[in-house]
């Protein structure tokens, strides 16, 4: 069916002929017949990675295939979304090994972007927990691969943005939990030096992430709130919750009804931040026990919050810089705050070591912030790209809608190897997206 689609940033949008499938034969027929299309999950990447004039949507291909509750091994079709998995695994004492900041993504998308969570420095990316997967290749055949068997296909698929084929089945390991709650600690940092020090001091925590105020200048430059978390044990729970330690939160949502001018959302986040920062607890540290839902998915409670950025959409700019490039981080933050166009808040996190073929994370600082699309934005982002590269960093393809091919090339040292695997498994550029064409990953 033809319709206008866009990913989470609402930029760009495109008319796409979208095909859904429920059975593998139907996918094989489609792949055999069609040309130049891309797999699409929930469309939660921000930019143009899962956009093309033809898309094959996996959302109907969403069955749970097996769940070993003793060993914590889960196997499903690729269109199953994390929000459907959680209520199945949590009551049995298991959790997702890695989860992004939204549960509305498919397992195929988790592999395609090789997503990271707040525990990257401890548990790595999603791919670190994948045991086996099936991919429907350009020939319409299903190829099974593991980290060791058909390893080239496996590693080019993790973070490969759908360019090796359509992932159809994924088997992955879960994380054991005693309760569905998180023991949370929030720490205030007066400035950038303090927040980076706090990250270092608290790296034994499984989960860590910071909200950083991008606009504050002077002494308070880089003021932030660090949020740390550990899966709570039964003893950690308050009396009323001990009887049902693995309760699944009800997950009520409110819908964001329409597109707002972007300053409204900015004002809202300013308020939330100030509330947390100056609010009733002037204490430097807050400790509490919360359900996993608000801890991992605070934004999911407001469906379609992306509409808060207005009709033109927004770019989420996310980069990583090596640990030794703290100056680069300072410089980029200054540029953003001088320009005054970024969202008030950005998310800062420290990645642990990782060195995969094409996955985004590598050891260092990663910063992500939303910037509404407006005139003059793209040249400014090009300037930021140059700074990122100059300091040895790179951008996240899953958030990208506009980088130039040379930025990708210089940021990812193994890009040539990745490209040659793509040529092997996708010789006619059958799997091809707006992004892959823009970045010269597939032919036009």
């Amino acid at each position: 069916m033809k319709k206008i689609i866009a990913n989470w940033g609402n930029y760009p949008s495109i008319e796409s002929d979208e095909k859904t499938f429920s059975f593998p034969e139907d996918l094989a027929t489609y792949v055999g017949r069609e040309d130049r299309f891309i797999a699409r999950g929930y469309g939660r990447c921000y930019g143009d990675a899962s956009l093309a004039a033809k898309t094959v949507c996996t959302l109907q291909y969403n069955k749970v295939l097996s769940f070993d509750t003793k060993e914590g091994i889960f196997e499903c079709q690729s269109g199953l979304t994390l929000d459907k998995i959680l209520p199945i695994i949590v009551p049995k004492g298991w959790f997702l090994p890695v989860t992004p900041g939204t549960k509305f993504i498919t397992v195929g998308g988790a592999v395609g972007s090789d997503v990271h969570g707040k525990n990257h420095h401890v548990d790595g990316c999603f791919s670190a927990h994948v045991m086996e997967m099936d991919i429907t290749g350009h020939d319409g055949e299903t190829h099974t691969c593991t980290p060791d068997d058909k390893a080239d296909l496996f590693w080019a698929t993790c973070g490969g943005m759908g360019l090796t084929g359509v992932i159809t089945r994924v088997k992955f390991r879960l994380k054991k939990i005693e309760t569905s709650y998180i023991r949370q600690k929030q720490l205030k940092a007066k400035n950038l030096d303090e927040i980076l020090r706090l990250f270092e001091e608290n790296k034994q925590y499984t989960y860590s992430v910071a909200w950083i105020d991008c606009l504050k200048k002077g002494k308070g430059f880089g003021r932030s709130i660090l949020i740390l978390g550990e899966h709570a044990s039964v003893e950690d729970l308050p009396a009323g919750k001990k009887e049902k330690p693995l309760a699944v939160p009800s997950g009520k949502q409110i819908n964001f009804p329409f597109n707002l001018p972007s300053f409204v959302l900015n004002k809202f986040t300013v308020k939330v931040f100030n509330f947390l920062f100056y609010g009733k607890n002037m204490k430097r540290e807050i400790n509490n026990v919360v359900s996993y839902e608000p801890f991992f998915y605070p934004l999911d409670a407001i469906l379609n919050w992306n509409r808060g950025y207005g009709k033109k959409g927004f770019i989420q700019y996310q980069f990583v810089l090596p640990l030794e490039s703290k100056n680069g981080l300072v410089e980029i933050l200054h540029r953003i705050s001088d320009k005054g166009i970024g969202s008030f808040l950005a998310v800062l996190k420290v990645f642990g070591p990782q060195d995969d073929l094409i996955s985004f994370p590598k050891e260092g600082y990663t910063l992500a912030l939303d910037i509404p699309v407006r005139n003059g934005l793209m040249p400014f982002l090009d300037e930021l790209d140059a700074l990122v590269l100059q300091h040895g960093g790179r951008l996240y393809m899953s958030k990208d809608a506009r980088m130039k091919p040379e930025i990708l090339e210089k940021g990812y040292p193994r890009l040539d190897e990745f490209k040659s695997i793509i040529r092997k498994y996708n010789p006619e550029s059958k799997f091809s997206s707006l992004q892959s064409e823009r970045l010269n990953l597939t032919s036009r």
Partner: protein, 244 residues
Amino acid sequence: MEKYVFIIGATSDIGMAIAEKYAREGYDLLLGARKSERLLPAQSDLQIRFGIRCNLLELDLSQTTTLAAVWNSLENKPGITICVAGFMQDNDEVLRDTSATLQTIESNFTGPVTLLNAIALDYMKNGTGVIAGFSSVAGLRGRQSNFIYGSAKAGFIAYLSGLRNKLFHHQVHVLTVLPGFVYTKMTAHLSLPALLTATPAQVANAVFTGIRKKKNVVYVKWFWKWIMCIIRMIPEFMFKKKKL
């Protein structure tokens, strides 16, 4: 068995939605379909998500002479049977193609009737059970665009109504479902009027409630009842001139 449902034609989007609805409500399932191995993923999914038992049954409605035996050989027989099976092709093609004509009649009428006969006899003997059959608004009046399919569905409507009458006296309930337009893979290429079009999940809910409340005929979207009422009132001498 009380909480055990048989779905005939389970691979369709509507069949899947009904299976999920009943599984969510804690019912065990028997899913019947041609190439039933295609339902293996659905089987594991429903069992893992809802903690119910889900069995598969290979069923070819065109093999009419074997259908009664398939039912009778079941050890454990479901107490609710829902027949979703059906098949529609372009009417003009069917008109020219005898095998397509026979297939249309078989999968919409002869097959379901043969199988439901065996089930009805069983339910009658036990004095308990529910049968729900999917017909179509196309069966309420023959139109030039789909009268072969429509006439098979019309036969099925008459069958279900007679069956309801007969089984009423044996404490067995029969429900006729006339779903109207439904968003499915079969209709994905059409642009359907939202007011008249139901999602498979809405159809499943309507069937579930219809069975629980012992309704006789269910239109999923209430509008259809009135539309069809009007369409059926148009005199034949006028109707034949219409391009419907």
